[in-house]
């Protein structure tokens, strides 16, 4: 769906030295995948996303979305996008702004109201409906930004720092939302400084620093979690209870199990029972997620 091949982007100001924001990056995000892009500020994440949107053109290499040049794709289908920094006229009120953007997103006139109400509810913006954008808190602004990105049903969603500056409640809300956004024909790319939060959401997390991807895993087909999914569950102790709670689970060693469930409700019930039995859960991730070895090793050591 999204494909970057040996992409570099160099900014060459009239005065001063050229700076390379992205350096020979190759990345593929397939349909049905959620891919995270983790890196510190100035790592090149936003530039990479701007290339995917066609807001910038690469100095070298190619960017394709659904096989075509990004700008053409955007003008044809649109992309659900949260830019960083996120800016709209501060005088616009929340629901008015969403209604305007829904019109531009192509949402049908008869559905605009319902769609706006739905995203307002999903993002917990009910109390801010009539407030002007300039008066929103940082947390509410980020949630508004995500709301406008998911107004219309898009095959590609690109979010730049959607987890930045959020309260714990908002983080939980967004995590749940991202799970519901997963669809077999949708590619989701999320950039964040918070690698740990990304690991909990994404199937793969690609670290980027100083414009270079440190290590990339190839994309592979994924299983939509909405119907049936496999999760990797790691327990620090109490591994003996896992098979009792999830009889079909497969032990992968070092306290890690592959758990197949028919839905999130079943998974959560099982986890609650596991905790009640005294197990200590170290991590939980979709089976397609590739957790960085550095992040995994302390947990695995503890579990062994």
């Amino acid at each position: 769906m999204i494909e970057l091949s040996h992409v570099s982007k160099t900014y060459a100001p009239t005065f001063g030295r050229p700076s390379r924001a992205v350096d020979d990056v190759s990345l593929r995000v397939g349909a049905g995948e959620i891919v995270g892009l983790a890196g510190p500020e100035g790592a090149g994440k936003s530039t990479l996303l701007a290339l995917v949107l066609g807001h910038e053109r690469p100095t070298s290499g190619t960017v394709r979305v659904d096989g075509i040049e990004p700008r053409r794709f955007v003008e044809r289908e649109g992309i659900g996008y949260l830019p960083q920094p996120f800016a709209l006229p501060g005088g616009w009120r929340v629901t008015d702004a969403l209604a305007r953007l829904a019109v531009l997103a192509g949402v049908h006139a008869t559905q605009t109201r319902a769609r706006v109400d739905a995203v307002v509810k999903d993002l917990g913006l009910e109390d801010a409906r009539r407030r002007r954008l300039r008066s929103l808190s940082r947390d509410a602004r980020v949630r508004f930004g995500v709301a406008q990105a998911i107004l219309a049903d898009r095959r590609v969603i690109v979010l730049d720092e959607p987890l930045d500056g959020l309260s714990d409640d908002s983080l939980d809300r967004l995590r749940d939302l991202f799970i519901t956004l997963r669809a077999f024909d949708r590619a989701i790319l999320i950039a964040s400084r918070d690698a740990a939060a990304l690991h909990r959401i994404a199937d793969r997390v690609t670290p980027i620093d100083r414009g270079r991807v440190r290590r990339i895993g190839a994309a592979r087909p994924t299983t939509p979690v909405a119907i049936e999914a496999v999760f990797h569950l790691a327990v620090q102790h109490g591994a003996e209870h896992v098979l009792a709670v999830f009889p079909t689970a497969i032990a992968l060693g070092k306290g890690v199990f592959a758990v197949r469930v028919s839905g999130l409700a079943v998974l959560n019930l099982g986890l609650r029972e596991l905790l009640e039995r005294g197990a200590l859960i170290a991590s939980l991730a979709p089976a397609n997620a590739r957790v960085e070895p550095n992040a995994l090793s302390p947990m695995a050591e503890a579990a062994s």
Partner: protein, 251 residues
């Protein structure tokens, strides 16, 4: 699912009414006050029944205010249309939707022009009813001419650079100054063909400025006088739209 750009026209008109109309009204009011102050006019000068002198004064004052309005309304209509979006990053949000920047800004420019013409017509109708008869249709045509030529230039500059406002002022001021210089030379028997050609192909601010009286009185206008302002505006608008088609965002 394509953007419903036509349905967005109402929002663009509202933006114009809320954001540009007050600015245009205040700036035109200041220009009118400046004219009255520098010419030492008093309220009695605006009594149209006060004889021929009063009527001439009134016409001259109206011609000046109309020319000021046409310039200001056109400049404000296109002011920062593209540059403001780019500078503040609104374009990144708007153009992640399935719509063409060319279509979006062309519609915005057109609606702002319609707003300017409607505003000018209403003000002229009020003036005609309350003070002295003027051609409302002529005023509407004049504001449209200003929007096409000066507004077209402002639109192009806004597409090119964030320094569009000072650049527009400098171009118009330079144009008027050069026109005055060449006209002065010609009056004193000087001038040359090259200067005449240069004067003709300058941005047509000086041509538009000189036509306000004829339009306000509904007089017939020599089409040759309109040719360059119309052509200049059309060239600017087409160039702006082509630039929007080709130029990446965020630059």
């Amino acid at each position: 699912m394509r953007a419903r750009v036509s349905a967005y026209a109402g929002a663009q008109l509202r933006d114009y009414l809320v954001g540009r109309v007050p600015l245009t009204a205040v700036a035109t009011g200041l220009a009118a006050w400046g004219y009255v102050y520098t010419h030492g006019l008093t309220w009695s000068a605006f009594d149209a029944t006060g004889g021929i002198d009063a009527r001439v004064q009134l016409q001259q004052a109206f011609d000046f205010v109309l020319a000021s309005f046409a310039f200001l309304a056109a400049a404000f209509a296109a002011h920062g249309l593209v540059a403001k979006h780019r500078r503040r990053g609104y374009d990144r949000v708007i153009f992640s939707r399935p719509l063409s920047p060319m279509r979006y800004y062309a519609q915005g420019f057109f609606i702002a022009g319609l707003g300017a013409v409607a505003l000018g017509s209403m003000a002229a109708a009020f003036y005609a009813a309350a003070v002295y008869p003027v051609s409302v249709i002529g005023v509407a045509g004049y504001v449209a001419l200003g929007w096409l030529s000066i507004g077209g230039l402002a639109f192009l500059l806004s597409t090119l650079t964030v320094f569009h406002a000072p650049l527009l002022l400098a171009i118009i001021a330079g144009d008027l100054a050069f026109d005055r210089y060449v006209s002065g030379l010609r009056a004193s028997g000087g001038g040359s063909l090259a200067l005449d050609v240069a004067q003709y192909v300058l941005p047509p601010g000086h041509v538009v400025a000189s036509l306000s009286g004829s339009f306000a009185r509904g007089a017939s206008i020599d089409p040759r006088a309109l040719a360059w302002p119309v052509a200049f505006g059309a060239i600017c608008i087409v160039a702006a739209l082509l630039l929007l088609r080709r130029r990446p965002f965020g630059t």
